[in-house]
Amino acid sequence: MTIAEVSTKPSPATDSSHNPLTSPQPSLWRDPDAKPFVVFENVTKNFGDFTAVDNISLNIYRRELFCLLGGSGSGKSTLLRMLAGFEQPTSGRILIDGVDMAGIKPWNRPVNMMFQSYALFPHLTVEKNIAFGLKREGIADSDIKKRVADMLDMVQLGHLGKRKPHQLSGGQRQRVALARALVKKPKLLLLDEPLGALDKKLREETQFELMNIQEETGVTFVVVTHDQEEAMTLATRIGVMNTGNIVQVGEPHDIYEYPNSAFVARFIGSVNLIEGHIIEDEVDRVRVKSKHMDAPLYINHGISCAPGQQVNVAIRPEKILLSHELPEQTDNRCEGVIVDIAYMGSMSIFRIHLDSGMEVRVTQPNVARDMGARFTWNDRVHLYWDVDSAVVLTA
């Protein structure tokens, strides 16, 4: 399948084939016997007193599109730069395809990088930019020409080969940077905020394109981003980073539905965190008492905790239901007053003040046109949700 087809009309088939949950390819990271392609072994990087990366161990598998997601200063870029060879770990080991990368210089690594600023050579044409890396490989000129032309076709820039970078738009430059990195056929492609400089509409198109190029070439991608939406759509797995640590690794679905800490829950999407303490702790369910709630919180998954322990219960805004009548269920409900409504078209966002003073965010899909009239400012409403909607967080 060509990119052109996909980028113009992304078919449902392409989307689902990329979704790891329905992917026809085996998900290597779920197989405990699979051999990891990139290995971080207790990697630490210090810059003077500052610890940018703090004892990280991480496996990335062949053909993955792995996203390192984190805010600025979380250490995600340092991790990427260590893969490229621009930084050496202070301690620990990095292996790529079984080879220890210690002491291997950037120019000798089977790795190419797409820079955040694209780092295109301004004095060279698009063609020469792409051919730049091949010139060092001792390939015949005719072969270089062919590979450059193929790459230009793949990123749909065949007609712009003679232009200089400053004559291109941001999106075109991004494609040239991608082509320049891919033309060397690296084992591992590193992408530093690949969509960061593009506007929203272009980002969406390019996301699908990136995913398709990744599938087509079979190259393992490691992407650094601070944009959780970008990570969610692109990644096979996400590693969420905070202050030099990887706080959670998982498929986008897992990270969103089962965050392991308040930090991850807040970082990915928006969330309501309800403080409370454990009153009942069974193998397959937990009951939490909170001063904000009229009824106890009941969650149908077990966690390792002790009765009386302080916890946060995380509930996503879209999982909360609103009603004027008292719901039938006895758990997971509370009452409040609507103080703010934001109509977003496809959905509406409600800010609701609970009687305890806590503010809760609720989103409702506008499935019918008159949804807006059902709940309005200063309405007193009941909030409730399913037993499997919320997550208990101990961290």
Binding site: K105, N112, P122, R180
Partner: protein, 314 residues
């Protein structure tokens, strides 16, 4: 180069005046530097050119007039003497002096470039206060007299100077080296004197250089030395060209350094010009030497500038 911009300005003025919207404020701003250039460059150039077409004479000033106006007889006698230029061509002494000057200027430009590049790189890559201090150190020599600094080099290089003393004390040489009055001393003097003119434009170019480009080259398989020639040099080219012109042009006509540090066989056109002018008192000949030197310098520079402009446009 001044000429081409001059015509461009005139054309623009012509267009504006035809449209009736001459911007007088802007004209005034442009006029000041043009007036300055005309007064101190173009008119003196015409004067020198005029002298070069006259004949030497025992008079004050020591050359003949081009125009001989006799009002009573009502005739105007224009006498143009091309003999000076012809003599320049016929006597190999002048040609040798030009070639030797260009050779010395070319070699010392390359030497200055080689010395200046690491300095400029270091300054461009250092940060904050260090950068300010290093830049100040580059400019610092200008605070003392140029002549004084050349005399200092004479003291350093002479047979009983500290350099010879140290080399003998260490035991590298038995006899003091003859360094003064050689081409070697001339090169030292030129590289030393003109270094800031090379460092500053290079620094400006390298300071703007995006280091991620160097990283990108490394990532694409370029060793540091390879990426130096494939990325850094092309990116720094405007600075390299500017620095080389700033060194090459004045060095071709350099007089003080070769006469103080060079030997009697160091032939440079600046010295020839001075001898022609003050010892021979042949002003027309000296003027012809100067005009030819100007042509030799302006033509290649204009070519360089035009080619770089075309590249920018492409």
């Amino acid at each position: 180069m001044t000429q081409s911009t001059g015509t461009a300005v005139l054309e623009r003025l012509w267009q504006m005046s035809r449209l009736g919207n001459v911007n007088w404020g802007r004209l005034m701003v442009i006029a000041v530097p043009y007036f300055w250039l005309a007064l101190f460059f173009f008119i003196p150039f015409l004067v020198v050119f005029k002298i070069s077409l006259s004949e030497s004479a025992i008079a004050v000033p020591p050359y003949t007039d081009l125009l001989d106006l006799d009002l009573e007889e009502a005739y105007l006698n224009i006498k143009i003497n091309l003999g000076n230029y012809l003599f320049l061509w016929e006597d190999s002494f002048y040609l040798d002096a030009y070639l030797s000057s260009i050779k010395i200027a070319a070699i010392s430009t390359v030497l200055t470039l080689i010395v200046a590049f690491p300095i400029a790189w270091l300054i461009a890559r250092s940060e904050g206060n260090t950068r300010t201090i290093l830049l100040a150190l580059v400019v610092l020599p200008f605070w003392t007299s140029f002549l004084l600094r050349v005399y200092a080099w004479m003291a350093l290089l002479k047979k009983s100077g500290p350099i010879n003393d140290i080399l003998m004390a260490v035991g590298l040489i038995d006899q003091p080296l003859q360094m003064l009055q050689t081409d070697f001393a001339v090169y030292i003097g030129i590289v030393y004197t003109y270094l800031p003119f090379m460092v500053l434009p290079l620094y400006t170019a390298l300071e703007k250089l995006d280091m991620t480009l160097v990283e990108a080259a490394a990532d694409l398989g370029y060793r540091p030395i390879q990426s130096f020639f494939a990325v850094i040099v092309p990116m720094a080219l405007p600075g390299i060209v500017a620095g080389c012109l700033l060194v090459f042009i004045p060095v071709v006509g350099e007089y003080v350094i070769p006469s103080l540090l060079g030997g009697s066989d160091t032939l440079m056109i600046g010295r020839v010009l001075w001898d022609e002018f003050s010892i021979n008192r042949d002003w027309p000949m000296a003027s012809a030497v100067a005009i030819v030197m100007l042509v030799i310098l302006v033509v290649p520079i204009t070519l360089v500038r035009n080619s770089s402009k075309q590249e920018d446009a492409a």
